[in-house]
Amino acid sequence: MVFFQLLALAGFLAGLYGIYIRYAQTKARAFPADKSPLKGNPSHGIAYAFTKGMMPWAKESTRLHMIAYLRGIGFHIGIFTAIGALIISPFWTLLPSLLSLTLGWALTLGAILGAAGGLMRIVEHNLRGLSIPDDHFAVWLVTVWMAVSAAAVWDEAWMAAYYILSAITMAYVPLGKIRHCLYFFFSRVFFGKFFGRRAVYPHPDVAK
């Protein structure tokens, strides 16, 4: 098992390094300093972008597609749970059985939501039109990985397969669309700065 654990670790580190390379590459690019006089507060804008601005009711788009948005949020919570589970995987046996059960179900739910997303990409007209092969691959890769994670939490027989799949998934992160996990943070920061400076977000509460 140690071999498979090391394999997963190698995949994890490769993914982490790849993401770091991406981060360093983007950070090395110019960042246009904004010297225009402030109207609002960029820091408040950033705080808004990561909190209230992410709420399902904050935007017309998420109000309109509430179920799809919540599915996406659930899927991503599942992914972060799976990453956490991978990090502590050598100590799974030490987990109290209730926690182990909860972890397994959380991962299963993540996988179900992932599969729903994967199917939607195939079935829904707009999503199909927007998707590139990488999109389909990425969602199914992560979904299967979460499903196998759940299986491994409950049944040790899955451990070897779990570690192999973890290595592949983690190593793939910086290579394809999954790296948007890094750019999410850049994007929300720039969003917050832009709209915060202009006092568009957060906007004083007024009747709309």
Binding site: D34, K39, K59, G129, L130, S131, L175, S187, R198
Partner: protein, 442 residues
Amino acid sequence: MTETIELALKTLEAQLNQPLETALEACARCGLCAESCHYYRAEPKVKHIPAFRAERLRSVYRYEHDFLSRLFPVWTGAKKLDEPTLASLTEIAFSQCTLCRRCTVNCPLGVDTPLMMRAIRAVTTASGTAPEILVMLADAAIEKGKDPSFFKDMFLEQIAEMEEQLRDITGDPTATIPVEKQGAKILYVPLAGAHTILPPAAVFNVAKEDWTLSIFEAANYGVFLADVNRAKQVAKRIVDEANRLGVKEIVIAECGHAYASYRWDVPNWFAGQFDFKVRSLIEVLADYIRDGKIKVDPTAIPEGVTYHDSCNLARNGGLIEEPRYVLKNVVRDFREMTPNRDQAICCGGGGGLVALAEYAERRIAAGKPKAEQIKQTGARIVVAACENCRLQIGDLNERYKLNVQITAITDLVVRAMRLPKPLPGHEAERLFEGEEAAVVRE
């Protein structure tokens, strides 16, 4: 690789900073942005989803910058830039996006799709494939800055005539339209034409403001081309004029892109040479009303009035409550469109599209959601604080039979000031609800 393509790729490369790379990388293609776009709302097709449009540039970017895409372009939809792709990018950026940023505020990741559309505009301008008319308009403005002498006499002659009209309207024989007044507090920058000079002139005179009129216009077609070099040259005319006259602030006419660029971009382009405040005329009007510098009659305008948030003023400029404050002080029946403010739907005339005759049909079709919004308010007057919006809503008025009057905020303020005579073109409005009689009695 042809010279055009080489130049296009070089320009893309030169623009690739942190925000642009982020916009190119962050999209998860979830499709939630679809309905945020007025093009999609007017015609719900995949090609009108902002993420789909942005994907056309992403595919080129990936081909140049992504390891996996170079190995397996099909996997990521990567594409080598060629002439037909460049032509299609040009069309997308100049005719299918008004740079309104409604998709950005509706994106769970906040992807700045208009930033990518601007990048395409810059690429096509540099490689000579941008719409000719925008280049012509920008170059004509630059030409005016090089040697104002060829139009200055004619301009001053017209201002003298307008001054006569102004005295007639305000009933003040000393009312003036000062030009090149050294040391004035405000440099007011109008648009071309009397309609953005006379109404503010009436307000400035009544408020006893220390102001002077710019000999140049606020519009900047370099901004639409995303050509910072041209845009800077156009803006420099006004920055130089303001510096020469030693004014304290620049006040921009009711114009969306001009306000957004002078307020948020120009201070960065001229850092160190830009020691004055930039305000929109709307902010000045709000202050005058708040401070009692002008008296307005809140019952003067009896018709239902709705306000269209110009994307450059509201979402991209932060001017959201100021126009509402002014309007609520001068109209009796103010009606909001739904949605409004940061979520306002673009009218379809932004991004320089109004000047692109070749895309007029597409522009007017994409304005349908705005036309429907206007209809739903039942208002008789539509106020827009942006010239391009007013031109577009004028076209929508005709096409969708809205039967509305389109006006600027300042025109309504002047009307509510109950000056002795109406502005040109507003004569009929004096007849509403016995106003004429009231004026005579006064």
